[in-house]
């Protein structure tokens, strides 16, 4: 990449511009690996810095690593890189390590030489508490840091809350797994900030719990999803928000369906159906109930529920909802050995997924079409469908798919 000149740096927009300049100088000057700690007290400001860095260092590749119980040691970022990427310069942002506790920090001491052996700029995002933890729990790694950059901001409380509110109100929009991880990081950070407020607004916390729970589930982190959704249900009950409770019960049912099995999911969905009077939520509940019960021999009731859901999504004009239901109808028809009808439903679902631009939806339908074709011994067609599905799963970053 071309060397950065100081005049090329972004316009200083706030109190941390000097530390942003230092970080960019470090990234630009270091030819060998180094690490630095970036301290933040506001996730919105953190995301702003990250976007600025990504824009400024381009075309240098930038990778993200986020702590999770399944992926708890920072050195594991290397596993996701190709041999060439390991040898080339890159920036790697590490998030949420402080959620991992002592073992995660201590692993930095033990993997220090590994982390130093690649020409990567490793930037560890932490709060002030995380900085203290890093210094105490990973003293050998900490001692070799190339800098501690301060991106904490000091803004009037009201302005801060307004900013948090506008970010917390953003919808969850996921096109790839990387999107999901980025949004999870943001909403989890906001959740921490809201929880730390002396007069924490419970409804906002519950809304964020729902978003975080959904994202955890999307990323197959189901235990954490359940914990957030249970908190959401508890707050909704406390505040008497029945629609929110119904929505949380529905989302919890979706998680429990895979985690603990169908009976728990059916119980939760039936509770949600009693509570809700919103057409969109009712459609979602009926869709999920329909998807669950057909495997219990109730395929007629399942198709009735799915058709009711389809009608509601049509009335609302929700194409993604319709696409999901048509896929589910196709699954039930395929289960009943009504393969022609199933293919027809899948085709309709595919068109709608294309229309709304959902690659994951298209991939799932193409796989289902491939399964029907394979069942009918139409192997060439099946291979073609699986191939298309595989390409789309790769685009989305869904390794399981």
């Amino acid at each position: 990449m071309a060397d950065l000149a100081v005049q090329d740096l972004p316009e200083p927009s706030n109190s941390y511009s000097n530390d942003l300049s230092k970080l960019l100088v470090l990234i630009n000057s270091a030819r060998r690996g180094f690490w630095a700690f970036a301290i933040y007290n506001n996730v919105v400001a953190r995301e702003e810095v990250i976007e600025t860095v990504k824009r400024t260092v381009s075309p240098l590749p930038v990778f993200d690593w986020t702590y999770s119980p399944e992926n708890s040691y920072p050195a594991s970022y290397l596993k996701s890189l190709t041999e060439e990427q390991k040898r080339e310069r890159a920036v790697v942002f590490f998030f949420d390590l402080e959620r991992g506790g002592t073992d995660a920090w201590k692993s930095l001491d033990y993997s220090r030489e590994t982390l130093a052996s690649h020409p990567h700029a490793l930037i560890f995002w932490t709060t002030s508490k995380g900085r203290t933890d890093a210094a105490r729990k990973a003293p050998h790694f900490w001692a070799q840091r190339s800098g501690v950059l301060d991106f904490t901001i000091s803004v009037p409380v009201e302005q801060h809350r307004e900013l948090m509110g506008s970010w917390a109100g953003q919808p969850v929009e996921v096109a790839t797994y990387a999107d999901a991880e980025r949004q999870l990081r943001l909403f989890l950070g906001l959740l921490d900030e809201y929880r730390a407020l002396p007069d924490a607004p419970l409804e906002t916390i519950a809304q964020l719990d729902g978003k975080v729970g959904w994202l955890f589930d999307f990323l197959d982190r189901r235990e954490e999803a359940v914990s957030c959704l249970e908190e959401q249900i508890e707050i909704a009950r406390q505040l008497g928000l029945t629609e929110l409770e119904a929505e949380a019960l529905t989302n919890l049912a979706i998680v429990e369906r895979i985690r603990t099995g169908r009976p728990k999911a059916i119980e939760l969905l039936e509770q949600a159906l009693i509570l809700s009077s919103f057409p969109m939520l009712i459609a979602k509940i009926k869709q999920n109930l329909g998807e669950v019960i057909y495997l219990y021999g109730e395929s007629d009731r399942s198709l009735n529920l799915l058709n009711e859901a389809l009608k509601l999504f049509k009335q609302i004009g929700d194409n993604l909802g319709q696409a999901n239901v048509l896929k589910a109808i196709g699954d039930v028809q395929s289960f009943r050995d009504e393969k022609d009808e199933a293919l027809k439903s899948y085709d309709e679902a595919l068109k709608l997924f294309k229309q709304v631009g959902s690659n994951l939806g298209q991939a799932n339908v193409l796989k289902a079409i491939g399964d029907v074709q394979s069942f009918r011994k139409e192997m060439d067609e099946a291979l073609k469908s699986y191939d298309e599905a595989l390409k789309l799963f790769k685009q989305v970053g869904d390794n399981l798919g």
Binding site: R112, E113, R136, P139, D150
Partner: protein
């Protein structure tokens, strides 16, 4: 294995065990004190890095029975009696001159960095690196005092974040008596580098110069 290597290559074998200095003191005791006989039983030479805190434990005499030990102390800039030690300062000047052209430092910038380092090479290099980044951000061709002072302030912030209230009176006491001992807090402070260890005729310690103003301020 070492016997096979000796037979095949006809040369003595040396094992170097790196990274064992990073383990916790408890694990260090497990390895170097409880199993000192086992790990010193190689039919080959071996170098182990061990946690520095072990040296101040009452059981360290067990280690000395099995191992010859060496300590890499910091380079002192003054004696335990607070007398200047110019040889140490000269050594650090020489070390820096091998890494960076002294012409790149303006005025007293390098001397200020050396004084602030307390003779700890790691701190000195970190200060100079930070100061260099500060100079680049200022679009200056030389590292000036202002850059070094900003780097010192940043490093002081790291110490403040790391130290607990209970540490300050201990640091004040060590500043006054320079005595090293094996108590838990002193070990913690040595590990965090808020206390630096030196030796001449005897081992002694002092508070890291960067943290000293905060210690004096908070123990008034």
């Amino acid at each position: 294995m070492s016997d096979q290597i000796k037979i095949k290559y006809g040369k003595p074998v040396l094992f170097v065990f790196e990274g064992l200095d990073k383990i916790d003191l408890g694990q260090g005791k497990d390895i170097f004190i409880d199993r000192s006989q086992t790990i010193s039983g190689f039919r080959a030479s071996a170098i182990f890095l061990m946690p520095i805190g072990l040296r101040y434990t009452p059981q360290f005499s067990t280690v000395t029975q099995y191992f010859k030990h060496y300590s890499l102390s910091n380079i002192k800039l003054h004696t335990s009696k607070n007398q200047p030690y110019p040889e140490g300062r000269a050594k650090l000047h020489e070390l820096i001159a091998q890494r960076i052209d002294p012409f790149l430092f303006a005025g007293n910038a390098l001397d200020e960095a050396i004084t602030a380092s307390g003779g700890l090479i790691r701190t000195l290099i970190a200060l100079i690196r930070d100061a260099a980044v500060n100079a680049v951000v200022r679009e200056s061709e030389k590292i000036e005092s202002v850059d070094v002072r900003s780097a010192i302030a940043s490093l002081r912030g790291d110490f403040i974040a790391m130290l607990e209230t209970r540490h300050y009176p201990i640091l004040k006491a060590r500043y006054e008596d320079k005595n090293l001992d094996s108590d838990q807090e002193t070990q913690e402070l040595l590990e965090s580098l808020a206390l630096l260890e030196y030796d001449n005729d005897t081992f002694w310690c002092d508070v890291h110069p960067i943290v000293l103003p905060v210690v004096l301020e908070r123990t008034k």
